[in-house]
C-alpha cells in the first residue's frame, strides 16, 4: 500500500517535472523565436482582455481585437455585446476594465462609479458615428429638414412640423416618385439606435406605429434597398450602395450630407462619439495588454480599422486632446 502510494507520488512528481520542463522548453523556444519574427516588438505581451458593452461597437471592437491578436498572438479580446447600458455595471463590478459605449455615461452612472472607486473612469473617445436616414438608391430625394424627418416618422410632431407626411407626393423632391405611401423601417424598441433616434430626430416624441421594426440595423438597410417606396433609419456603419443616405438641414438651412468631414466636425445633426471607458486609478499605469489595445485604437491603423468598419475616424486634434493613460 505504502509503496504504491510512493510510486504514485513519484509518478506524479515526475509527470509534473516533465510537464514543467516541456513547458519551459516551449516557452524558451517561443521566447527565442518571437523576437526574431516580431522584429520591432520588444516584449511578449499576453493575456485575455475582457470588454462588456455596446452592441453597435461589436464589429469594431472585434476587429480591433483581431488585429491585436495578429500582432500579439497571446492577446485575446473577449467581447460581450449586451448594450451600452451594461458597460457601467460591468466596470463597477470590476469584471472588466474596458467598457465600450455608444453614448457618454450619464451623470448617475458616473457618480455610481466614483462612489465605488473614489475616482472617475477614464473616458476615451474612440471613433465617431452617426444615424442616417436612408431611401432606395434610385429615390430622387436628397435632403430633409428635421421637421420633415419628424413629420415622417412620428405621430407627435414634437419638432414643429405641421402635418404628418405619409406619401411621397407630399415631399417636393419626390412629387413624381409614384410609389404611393412611404413604407417606414426602423429598429426594435430595445435597441439604443431606436432610443437615440427618438430623442434626437423626433425631439423626444413618439414613433408612428406602422414602422416595420427590424431586429438589426443591417436588416433595415437591406429592406430599404429592396423596395422603392421605403425609408428607414440605421447606424452609419451599415450604409451600403443599395440605399442612399439623406442629407439633413441644420438650423442655418444648409443641407449637411452624412459624409466623413461633416460627421467628424459634428456638423451632421445626428452624429455622436463612440466611447471607451477604462477603469484606471490615478497615478497607475495599465497592464501591457490593455495598453497595447489603447495604443492600437489611437494609432493611425486603429482609426483605419474604424473606417473599415464603417465608422468615421477621429481628427488628430480630438485624438491629441484626449486624457493620457
Amino acid at each position: 500500500m505504502n509503496t504504491r502510494l510512493t510510486t504514485l507520488c513519484i509518478n506524479r512528481g515526475l509527470a509534473s517535472a516533465v510537464r514543467r520542463t516541456v513547458l519551459s522548453g516551449v516557452a524558451f523556444i517561443l521566447m527565442l523565436i518571437t523576437p526574431l519574427t516580431w522584429g520591432q516588438q520588444p516584449a511578449v505581451i499576453s493575456g485575455t482582455l475582457g470588454a462588456v458593452g455596446s452592441d453597435t461597437m461589436a464589429g469594431l471592437m472585434l476587429r480591433w481585437g483581431e488585429t491585436l491578436t495578429t500582432r500579439y498572438p497571446d492577446v485575446k479580446l473577449q467581447f460581450q455585446a449586451s448594450g451600452s447600458a451594461s458597460a457601467p455595471t460591468a466596470l463597477m463590478a470590476g469584471t472588466t476594465r474596458l467598457g465600450p459605449m455608444s453614448r457618454p455615461m450619464t451623470s448617475e452612472e458616473r457618480d455610481n462609479f466614483i462612489e465605488r472607486y473614489g475616482y472617475p473612469p477614464l473616458e476615451l473617445k474612440v471613433a465617431r458615428d452617426a444615424l442616417i436616414v436612408v431611401v432606395h438608391r434610385h429615390n430622387p430625394l436628397r435632403a430633409l429638414t428635421r421637421q420633415q424627418v419628424d413629420a415622417i416618422f412620428s405621430t407627435s410632431l414634437a419638432c414643429g412640423g405641421e402635418t404628418p407626411i405619409r406619401r411621397w407626393e407630399q415631399l417636393s423632391a419626390t412629387r413624381d416618385w409614384s410609389f404611393g405611401s412611404i413604407a417606414l423601417h426602423g429598429r426594435n424598441l430595445a435597441s439604443g439606435t431606436h432610443g437615440l433616434f427618438q430623442q434626437r430626430a423626433l425631439c423626444g416624441g413618439f414613433f408612428r406605429n406602422d414602422i416595420s421594426e427590424h431586429p438589426g440595423s443591417s436588416a433595415v438597410v437591406a429592406a430599404v434597398g429592396e423596395s422603392a417606396n421605403a425609408m428607414g433609419y440605421a447606424g452609419l456603419n451599415h450604409l451600403t450602395p443599395a440605399v442612399h443616405a439623406l442629407s439633413l438641414y441644420n438650423d442655418d438651412g444648409i443641407a449637411i450630407p452624412p459624409n466623413e468631414a461633416a460627421i467628424q466636425g459634428g456638423d451632421y445633426p445626428l452624429s455622436r462619439y463612440l466611447y471607451l471607458y477604462v477603469n484606471l486609478p490615478p497615478g497607475e499605469t495599465l497592464p501591457p495588454a490593455e495598453q497595447a489595445l489603447l495604443k492600437l485604437i489611437m494609432s493611425d491603423e486603429g482609426q483605419q480599422i474604424a473606417r473599415a468598419s464603417g465608422f468615421v475616424p477621429l481628427t488628430s486634434s480630438v485624438l491629441g486632446a484626449q486624457q493620457r493613460w
Binding site: 519574427t37 452592441d55 473577449q78 470590476g94 469584471t95 434597398g225 451600403t240
Partner: protein, 473 residues
C-alpha cells in the same frame, strides 16, 4: 329515351366535375413536394455555389469609367425599363464601398481577363485588381514571376512574410501598396481550370466548416457554432434521456391507470405543442434569474453584480431545451412500452422476477429502440430550435469555447454559439446583409442537413423496428 340520355349526360358532366377534385388533391401533394424540393434546391445551389471561385469581370461603362467585380444579381429598375446588376467590387479602402449597382444599359463592354486577381485581406476585405510586382527587401519580382512568388509566399505563416510588400493596381489605374502579412489568400479565378476551381471549392468548404468567424461574422467559418450546437445537444440529451424514460416508465408501468394518469398523459402530450418561446421564457425566469441568480448569491458573490450563472449560458440553454424535448421522449418511450405484449411482463413476473428485474431485463431492452427514436427526434428538434435560445444563453460571438484546457475544462456558465442563431444573427444583425447572405445560405444548408439526417435516422429506425417487431409477432 331522350330523358334517359339527358340524365346520363348530366351524370357524366357531374362526375366530370367531381373527377377534378382528386386532381386538386393530388396537386396538393405535388405542390408540397415542389415547395420542399425548391427550398432544398435553393439552399443547395446557393449554399454550395458560394464557395465556387466566381468569374471576375472587367466592366467598361458608356461614360468610359471602368471597374472590376463579380456579378451578383439583377433586378428590374424602378420607374424605368430594363434591369440593373449588382457587382461585388471589393477595394473598400480605395473606393469606400464594396458594392456597385450598374444599369445594364450603361455597360459598354465587359471582359474576363485572366490577370485579374482577388486577394483576401484584413481588415479591408477583398481586393480585386491586378498584381504589378512583389517586393522583398531590395528584390523585386514582376509579372508572372510575381504571381508565382506570391503563391509561394502565401504558403508560409503570416509571421514569416512581414517584410514583403505587394504592388497592386485597380483596373482604373489606382495603385496600392499592400503588406503581404495581412493577405490571407490570393486567387486568379479567370485563369483557373475547372479542376483547380474544384480544388479551391473543396478547400473553401473545408475552411467554412473548420474555421471561426472573421471580420465580425461577415466572413470566415462556422466551426464554433457547429461545436456549440453539438455540445448543447449532447448535454441536453444527457439530461432529457433519463428523466424522459423515468417519467414514461412511471406513467406506463407504475402509476395506477386511472382517470388522473390519462389526464396527465394528455397533458404531457400537449406540452409538445406548447410554443418553444414559452419554454424560453420559463428558462429565463426560473433557470437564469431564479436558480442562476441564487447560485450567484451563494457561490459567486465576489463577482457580483456581474453575473456568473445569473445570465444565459450553456447549462441553462441545454436545460431549457431538455424541458422542451421532454414530452417528445416521454411520448416515444411510452409508445414503445405500450407495444410490448402484456404476456412478456406476466411471463417474467411468473418466473419469479421482481418488477425491477422485469423492467431492466425484459421491458427496457424491448423498448430501447423506441427510446432511441425518441431521443433522436428530441435532438433533431433541439438542433433546429432558436427562439428559446435567444433568451437563455446563445451569443453572437463567443471567442471562448465552452470546452478548453482551463480547469474545469467544461464551462457550463459560458455563452456559446449556435448554428440557428448564427444564421439569424448574420442575416439580421451583421454589418452588411448583402455580403452575409451567401454565408447565411451555407449555414442554413448545414443546419437543414444536420436536422434532416437526424430525422431520417429516426424514421428509418422506427420503420426498421416496426418491421422487425412485425416479424416477431
Amino acid at each position: 329515351m331522350t330523358s334517359a340520355s339527358h340524365t346520363v349526360s348530366r351524370r357524366r358532366r357531374f362526375s366530370r366535375v367531381n373527377d377534378v377534385w382528386p386532381w386538386l388533391c393530388a396537386a396538393s401533394v405535388a405542390l408540397s413536394l415542389l415547395m420542399l424540393g425548391a427550398l432544398l434546391t435553393l439552399l443547395l445551389v446557393r449554399g454550395l455555389g458560394h464557395f465556387w471561385p466566381a468569374t471576375l469581370e472587367e466592366v467598361t461603362l458608356d461614360s468610359g469609367e471602368t471597374f472590376a467585380g463579380q456579378a451578383v444579381r439583377e433586378v428590374a429598375l424602378p420607374q424605368r425599363a430594363g434591369d440593373e446588376r449588382l457587382y461585388f467590387t471589393g477595394n473598400q479602402d480605395i473606393e469606400g464601398v464594396r458594392w456597385r449597382w450598374v444599369a445594364i444599359d450603361d455597360i459598354a463592354e465587359s471582359a474576363q481577363p485572366d490577370d485579374l486577381i482577388r486577394l483576401d485581406r484584413s481588415p479591408w476585405g477583398d481586393f480585386i485588381g491586378r498584381l504589378v510586382a512583389i517586393e522583398q527587401h531590395d528584390q523585386r519580382w514582376e509579372g508572372d514571376a510575381a504571381w508565382q512568388r506570391l503563391n509561394a509566399l502565401l504558403v508560409l505563416p503570416a509571421s514569416q512574410r512581414q517584410d514583403s510588400q505587394l504592388l497592386l493596381t485597380t483596373v482604373d489605374g489606382q495603385t496600392l501598396r499592400q503588406p503581404l502579412a495581412s493577405v490571407a489568400s490570393a486567387q486568379a479565378p479567370n485563369a483557373m481550370s475547372v479542376w483547380q476551381k474544384t480544388l479551391a471549392w473543396g478547400d473553401a468548404v473545408w475552411r467554412f466548416l473548420s474555421e471561426g468567424p472573421r471580420a465580425a461574422n461577415t466572413d470566415g467559418g462556422v466551426w464554433p457554432a457547429i461545436f456549440g450546437t453539438v455540445l448543447m445537444v449532447i448535454l441536453m440529451s444527457v439530461m432529457v434521456t433519463p428523466f424522459g424514460v423515468l417519467a414514461a416508465i412511471y406513467l406506463n408501468e407504475i402509476a395506477h391507470q386511472g382517470r388522473l394518469t390519462r389526464l396527465v398523459r394528455i397533458g404531457v402530450r400537449n406540452l409538445a405543442g406548447v410554443p418553444s418561446i414559452v419554454y424560453g421564457v420559463f428558462g429565463l425566469g426560473v433557470f437564469v434569474y431564479g436558480i442562476g441568480g441564487s447560485l450567484d448569491e451563494w457561490f459567486f458573490s465576489d463577482t457580483l453584480p456581474s453575473p456568473t450563472f445569473g445570465t444565459g449560458g450553456l447549462l441553462w440553454a441545454s436545460l431549457t431545451l431538455a424541458l422542451l424535448t421532454l414530452p417528445v421522449v416521454i411520448v416515444a418511450t411510452e409508445e414503445g412500452l405500450a407495444r410490448i405484449p402484456e404476456a412478456q411482463r406476466e411471463g417474467a413476473v411468473a418466473l419469479g422476477a421482481t418488477r425491477l428485474e422485469m423492467l431492466t431485463r425484459i421491458v427496457l431492452p424491448m423498448a430501447a429502440p423506441a427510446m432511441l427514436t425518441g431521443v433522436i427526434l428530441a435532438v433533431a428538434r433541439a438542433a433546429g430550435e432558436v427562439a428559446p435560445l435567444m433568451l437563455v444563453g446563445v451569443a453572437k460571438l463567443a471567442p471562448q469555447m465552452p470546452i478548453d484546457g482551463e480547469f474545469p475544462y467544461l464551462h457550463l456558465e459560458r455563452k456559446f454559439m449556435h448554428l440557428g442563431y448564427h444564421l439569424f444573427d448574420t442575416a439580421f444583425h451583421g454589418e452588411d446583409v448583402q455580403a452575409a447572405i451567401p454565408l447565411v445560405y451555407a449555414t442554413a444548408l448545414l443546419l437543414v442537413l444536420i436536422v434532416l439526417v437526424l430525422n431520417l435516422t429516426a424514421i428509418f429506425l422506427r420503420h426498421y423496428l416496426r418491421r422487425q417487431r412485425g416479424n416477431e409477432c
